[in-house]
């Protein structure tokens, strides 16, 4: 909860999409295993526990991939906006 709340607060307070992405991707990597561990500790090796573990694996694998693609999109978007700023100068 604290990880997620900290990431959301940083998302709101930080300036710039890259800084926000930095926080969100960190939370996206930390929070799902913690939740899956909590569910596994309660349910044990049941169907629910295995499903929670599977969901955590999916989120942990897709998190950095999506963060990389969004970061590339942010970089391309900002780079395209720079010539306009230079023209104004």
């Amino acid at each position: 909860m604290l990880v997620v709340l900290g990431a959301a607060t940083g998302l709101a307070l930080m300036r710039g999409a890259a800084a926000r992405l930095h926080l969100v991707s960190a939370a996206g990597l930390l929070a799902p295993p913690l939740v899956a561990a909590a569910i596994l500790s309660d349910k044990g090796r049941s169907q629910a526990g295995i499903k929670a573990l599977l969901i955590a694996c999916v989120l942990v694998i897709q998190g950095p991939v999506v963060a990389h693609v969004i970061g590339r999109a942010i970089y391309g978007h900002e780079r395209a906006a720079q010539p306009k700023a230079k023209e104004l100068q």
Binding site: M1, V4, L5, A7, A8, T9, L11, A12, A17, R20, L21, V24, A27, G28, A31, P32, V35, A36, A38, I39, D42, K43, Q47, A48, K51, A52, L54, I55, V58, L59, Q62, G63, V65, V66, V69, I70, R72, A73, I74, G76, H77, E78, A80
Partner: protein, 75 residues
Amino acid sequence: MIVAALICAAVLLRGRHLSDRLVALQMLSLLTVLALLILAQAMSRPSFFDLALALAILSFPGALLYAHFVERWLR
């Protein structure tokens, strides 16, 4: 988690640039999956695990497509 989701929704609605909103959307989808997991555990409803799995799997190509759109088409 509701507080975190409300903060993300506020950034999503009031974000200045499209990239900020994309990051907020990604965070919101993660929060939804985690909320479904916790609800499934708390209410002892195994069907919510399937919902969370479907959302986790489907949010991946959605985020990729949106980022591809921002990168290629909004120059």
